[in-house]
């Protein structure tokens, strides 16, 4: 050590090094953090996203995280995934689905939480803020901005025209395959200015209209409840309401909505808010995660329709 220069210990460099190294240092985490992180890595592998220039890197990092536990706790890897997702969103803007954006914010939140003194607390707070905002914007669109949600048109048309909802329209809405086919034909658009003298009527049995109505108001109600529960200050009742509403939303919505990736992400973010040491609630989230997987991979509505004849 030179006597003519200040000691390296006295220089501010170590502070900078310490800050930099926090991104490269595996954070100390308990089950409150590890479960959501593992489930996020699994979700990334189950639904690969992006083109060739981002997908292999995201899949590779997620795979490494699952086989090498230390990697799961490295903030730099989560930051890398967040940046790759940002590239994926920008590359073919605006085609990325909303859950890719949310996944980007979430992985950024994980990276930042793992550099903090309390990873579990920071991650729980981030999860709550992101869920509150995502659901608040979803409710804003459905209740106020969209012209055709509250009046029921969205679900009436979607259940009839989107092939992914066809089984549900028949199973729950009581339509026959012939009625569904006729409705799809009746809903074919006319060119601008054209008018049919005798347009075919869209067949909507009362049970179908009731299904569309329940879907409209049920979705709005449960999304509003999630947003409200996340926004309200934490009390025992509110914390319970957060978990109940997130679990209920995912278990009901993703039985029909064909976006398992979104469901998994919401469940991961809900699981990140578990602050108790007991494993019961974590197990519940894990079961819900697997249930959404079941919904996505098993054509349960079609099988049920077949079974009912």
């Amino acid at each position: 050590m030179s006597l003519t220069r200040p000691s390296a210990i006295l220089r501010p460099v170590p502070a900078v090094d310490a800050r930099r190294s926090s991104w490269l240092r595996a954070a100390a985490c308990g089950p409150a953090v590890l479960l959501p992180l593992r489930l996020t890595a699994i979700a990334l592998l189950l639904r690969p996203t992006g083109e060739w220039f981002v997908r292999p890197a995201i899949l590779g990092i997620a795979a490494v995280m699952l086989v090498w536990p230390r990697a799961l706790r490295l903030p730099i890897l989560w930051l890398a995934i967040a940046l790759l997702l940002g590239v994926r969103i920008a590359a073919d803007w605006p085609l990325a689905d909303n859950h890719i954006y949310l996944l980007g914010y979430w992985t950024l939140a994980v990276a930042l939480a793992l550099t903090s003194a309390s990873a579990a607390g920071t991650l729980a707070a981030s999860s709550r803020a992101l869920l509150a905002l995502a659901f608040a914007f979803a409710v804003l669109w459905k209740a106020l901005l969209a012209p055709d949600f509250v009046d029921g048109r969205f679900f009436r048309v979607t259940l009839l025209t989107d092939p992914r909802f066809g089984d549900a329209a028949m199973l729950v809405g009581g339509l026959t395959p012939e009625q569904l086919a006729a409705d799809r034909q009746a809903l074919a658009p006319l060119p601008e200015g054209a008018v049919m003298l005798d347009p075919p009527a869209v067949i909507e049995p009362p049970r179908f209209r009731a299904f569309a109505r329940v879907a409209t108001w049920g979705v709005l109600l449960i999304e509003g409840l999630v947003a409200l529960a996340m926004l309200l200050p934490s009390t025992t009742v509110v914390v319970a309401a957060r978990h109940v509403s997130v679990l209920a939303f995912c278990l009901v919505s993703y039985a029909f909505a064909p976006v398992a990736g979104f469901g998994w992400l919401l469940l991961v973010m809900g699981a990140a808010q578990i602050r108790t040491s007991g494993s019961g609630l974590r197990l519940l989230y894990l079961v819900a995660f697997l249930t959404v997987l079941f919904y996505a991979e098993v054509p349960w509505a079609a099988l049920l329709l077949d079974a009912l004849g």
């Binding site: 969103i89 073919d92 803007w93 605006p94 085609l95 990325a96 689905d97 909303n98 954006y101 949310l102 914010y105 979430w106 950024l108 939140a109 930042l112 939480a113 550099t115 903090s116 920071t122 707070a125 981030s126 803020a129 992101l130 905002l133 995502a134 659901f135 914007f137 979803a138 669109w141 459905k142 901005l145 969209a146 012209p147 055709d148 949600f149 009046d151 048109r153 969205f154 009436r156 048309v157 979607t158 025209t161 989107d162 009746a186 809903l187 074919a188 658009p189 006319l190 060119p191 601008e192 054209a194 347009p199 009527a201 869209v202 979705v219 909505a257 976006v259």
Partner: protein
């Protein structure tokens, strides 16, 4: 609220507010762009479309969107902004040039379908039109200005 919590939340808010603005003023579909408007409206990709009309010496035809331009067409349908419409028109002109078919004009229409409140009867409405004029040069298809 700590910065580590605030940063992702602030990013989400900024993107979502920008998405609402783009949706209101630039016809971005509410389903896309990070504003969480999915499953809220029938104004989405399945009910939007792009048609391309190509004019050249002694021809005027509606072009089927080729697979190589499908992503560009989907982007233009979901966000019919000038730069995306121009990129699609340039792509069409370049493709025509590759096949040795001179082009003087590429017209891109973006339309969406609306459904009547009671009867649900569907009607198409034109959202945007972009015209790319160019000289009938096969070698330099992207030299013409768009408007």
């Amino acid at each position: 609220m700590p910065v580590r919590v605030l940063a992702p939340a602030a990013l989400l808010t900024m993107v979502a507010v920008a998405q609402i603005a783009l949706s209101r003023h630039a016809d971005l579909t509410p389903w896309k762009g990070g504003g969480f408007g999915m499953f809220s409206t029938l104004d989405h990709g399945a009910f939007r479309g792009v048609s391309v009309i190509v004019d050249g010496p002694e021809r005027s035809e509606t072009l089927e969107i080729p697979p190589s331009l499908e992503v560009l067409a989907a982007r233009a349908a979901n966000a019919p902004d000038q730069w995306l419409l121009r990129r699609l028109a340039d792509g069409v002109a370049a493709r025509e040039a590759r096949y040795g078919r001179p082009v003087t004009r590429v017209t891109v229409h973006v339309w969406k379908t609306s459904f009547a409140r009671d009867t649900l009867h569907a009607t198409e409405h034109r959202l945007r039109t972009f015209v790319r004029e160019s000289h009938p040069s096969v070698r330099d298809p992207s030299s013409g200005p768009g408007r």
